[in-house]
């Protein structure tokens, strides 16, 4: 009892101090044009965005040695925080597990979820969420030792395959094997480290998980060339941030932060050259940096929000390079459609 009341008391004091510290800049922000968003109002009143992230997934969301959250998903949270507050640190990260992530969003414990979550019909409808875009195209694949000489997943008939239980990975594997009439022997191991060790020690012929995970595992091996990721991708895993259904204006903001990052890459605007973008005569650039079009106000944020985001975090490609390339994930399907024929494509930013 004493603990409860004490904690409430201290939290009240802390909240009051926080509110006092941030209310001035928050009030100084431009008011939203054309209707208001309850989520954005709550975030502004609180002074911080609360973002649900993974408890630890290499490259996407993980605290570094100093306890600072880093990663691809984390940068998306920071981008939205910059759009709202022009400050990448006005965001609190709530680590969520595969089990409690949806409740955390539904109950309002977090404002948005940026947690390598696959966009599916049922999550979009019956769970009551809005996916605001696809910022990473993933899919389930196979990795085998190069010494086996296997070139295609179709040659895996009779193979022993290491797989983690739980999520959809095991189900996808079974579905795929049935559809392509392949017999296999599953070795189901819960922990990532153990399943990788089982594969490395030769307990199984192949290891299956999302291609991003395979690439990350391959990259840290002593000789990555000893392992081959097979070309077949047996499932679609489009990942992206999501918000609660029913607050379209906040969903719009998160969606256009993502499209803004891609537009910046399409226009070759990077964190290095955005300072000179004001001199760029291209109308698209002028709209992106908020010097014409009044686009930020339509979203309820500062017109220069993309300048603030790109100057601190870089464009989509730079965020990708910084977080995912070092762990061995290549652009692949996440390259730009306009230049490299990938799947990343932004509707016109105007």
């Amino acid at each position: 009892m004493t603990q409860t009341s004490r904690s409430t008391f201290l939290r009240a004091i802390g909240a009051a101090l926080i509110a006092g510290a941030v209310s001035a800049p928050a009030l100084a922000q431009q008011p939203a044009a054309g209707g208001s968003s309850p989520t954005v109002d709550a975030i502004r009143a609180r002074g911080t965005l609360i973002c649900g992230v993974n408890t630890g997934l290499a490259g996407f969301a993980q605290p570094d040695s100093q306890g600072v959250w880093r990663g691809f998903d984390v940068d998306y949270c920071r981008a939205v925080a910059i759009a709202l507050f022009n400050d990448p640190d006005k965001v609190r990260f709530v680590p969520t597990t595969a089990q409690n992530r949806f409740t955390a969003l539904q109950s309002g414990e977090v404002d948005m979820l940026s947690r390598n979550t696959t966009w599916t019909l049922s999550r979009d409808t019956s769970l009551g969420f809005d996916f605001t875009g696809i910022n990473f195209y993933d899919g389930q694949g196979f990795m085998v030792k190069a010494s086996l000489g296997v070139r295609s997943a179709r040659e895996l008939n009779g193979a022993t395959i290491c797989v983690q239980p739980g999520t959809t990975t095991e189900q996808n594997l079974t579905d795929w094997a049935r559809a392509s009439r392949i017999q296999f022997q599953p070795v189901v191991i819960e922990r990532l480290e153990e399943v990788v060790n089982a594969y490395l020690s030769g307990r199984c012929d192949a290891y299956t998980t999302d291609v991003s995970g395979l690439a990350a595992t391959r990259a840290v091996q002593a000789r990555p060339a000893d392992h081959v990721i097979l070309p077949e991708v047996i499932s679609k895993e489009p990942l992206g941030p999501l918000v609660r259904h029913g607050d379209q204006r906040f969903a719009d903001l998160v969606r256009w932060v993502h499209f803004g990052l891609i537009t910046a890459e399409e226009l070759a605007i990077t964190s290095q050259n955005i300072g000179q973008a004001a001199n760029d005569a291209r109308p698209d650039v002028q709209r992106l940096i908020g010097r014409s079009g009044d686009l930020g106000r339509m979203l309820g944020v500062d017109n220069a929000f993309m300048v603030n985001i790109v100057s601190r975090l870089g464009n989509y490609g730079q965020i990708f390079e910084r977080n995912l390339v070092p762990i061995g994930i290549q652009r692949g399907p996440n390259a730009l459609w306009t230049t490299a024929g990938g799947l990343q494509y932004a509707p016109p930013f105007r």
Binding site: L10, Q62, P95, Q99, T103, E193, N197, I327
Partner: protein, 381 residues
């Protein structure tokens, strides 16, 4: 003949006493009787001795001689762990602990403020030591606890005395484990005494209520209680109202520990002979006087071993909060090895985390053994 006896040299009164031969007493005799008493036992001793020495030498080789204590870190924050990987498991890579120990101990707490959770851990240990000393077993303990816990709260949250505010979701590591365990047991123990008394009460309403509580809570796993607290409970609350995640987990742990401890306490109550109750009644003591002065002191003394058993179990069970995304000591350790350059060095991290758990659990265990022999001195003959 008698003269022979008389002529034999008398035993010199002043000659030094001689000890028994070393084949009868001392370490060599002990070895002979216990380890080398026959050919079978000699063979078993030699084989086991060989295996133990091999294992110890292997461990020393791995943990100290071949171990790598630190690796260079590139300017972009990526650790260069090639040296560790080239060991191929023949030596420990303690570099992972060197690099990540502050994250494992304090989680995502702001780095430059780490002295605060460190001080909190020291305060907790000091609180345990003070509470363990018999000299403080009186009313002074109450202000000591309240004062220390307030200080701990101020240090962790901040927002006062110029300390920056740190929201709860940034807490992590050892302080979380100590908070969950300390508050959990501090609240669960009094609760369990009340429930145990209630279960033996003659008032049917109270009795049924206590039985229901114990059986319902004990009938489900702790994980499902934590899930209820973390996943289902928020859905029952009005939108926008949120009870802190740590507090919800804390309440689940208190309720769960309370049910288990209640049964332990009830065992102590039942072990007490009926004569004790009757003697207390005969002296005209009220129910609470009887319970506080006669029954509980004897009953709790009897159940010290199972009580400590449950305490130690719960200290380790706090690590289950990892499934609801709270970074306790073990979760922080697991998260530390998510980074690809550190993947594969789990053993080192688990040894580090395990030794911290061991220190606390072993201290609890030794203290309870001392307490037990101290309180049961009257029984020894």
């Amino acid at each position: 003949m008698s003269d022979i006896t008389a002529n034999s040299p008398p035993v010199a009164a002043g000659s030094p006493p001689r000890s028994a031969p070393i084949t009868a007493v001392g370490p060599i005799a002990w070895l002979r009787t216990n380890l080398f008493s026959g050919w079978l036992s000699t063979a078993v001793t030699l084989v086991l001795g060989y295996l133990v020495i091999r294992a110890v030498m292997g461990f020393v080789d791995w943990a100290f001689i071949n171990a790598i204590w630190s690796v260079p870190v590139a300017p972009n924050g990526q650790a260069q762990t090639q040296a560790c990987r080239e060991l191929q498991g023949s030596g420990a890579c303690w570099a992972v602990v060197t690099e990540k120990h502050r994250f494992m101990l304090f989680g995502t707490y702001p780095y430059e403020q780490h002295w605060r959770p460190a001080l909190v851990c020291i305060l907790f240990v000091a609180l345990y030591i003070v509470s363990a000393l018999k000299r403080f077993w009186n009313w002074t303990l109450v202000p000591i606890w309240i004062g220390t816990l307030t200080a701990i709260g101020v240090l962790m949250w901040g927002g006062l005395f110029g300390l920056p505010y740190v929201p709860q979701e940034r807490w992590g590591g050892l302080p979380i484990t100590l908070i969950l365990a300390t508050f959990g047991l501090a609240f669960a123990f009094p609760l369990s005494i009340l429930v145990a008394l209630g279960r033996r009460s003659s008032l049917p309403a109270i009795k049924v209520l206590c039985i229901l509580y114990v059986e319902l809570i004990r009938g489900v796993p702790l994980i499902s209680l934590l899930f209820m607290a973390s996943v289902m409970f928020p859905l029952f609350l009005p939108e926008g109202m949120n009870i802190d995640k740590l507090l919800r987990a804390q309440i689940a742990i208190i309720l769960f520990a309370g049910a288990y401890l209640a049964e332990v306490v009830r065992a102590g109550l039942q072990a007490l002979p009926k004569g004790q109750y009757e003697a207390a009644d005969a002296m005209g003591l009220s129910y609470w006087q009887k319970t506080g002065l006669i029954i509980l002191p004897q009953a709790l003394r009897t159940v010290i071993p199972p009580l400590v058993n449950t305490f130690i179990g719960f200290f380790k069970d706090t690590s289950l909060v990892l499934i609801i995304g709270i970074f306790d000591l073990l979760t922080a350790g697991k998260t530390a090895i998510v980074e690809p350059s550190w993947q594969g060095f789990g053993i080192e991290v688990y040894v580090f985390v395990g030794s911290i758990y061991l220190v606390f659990c072993f201290a609890m265990s030794k203290y309870s053994a001392g307490l037990e022999s101290d309180l049961n001195r009257h029984r020894r003959r």
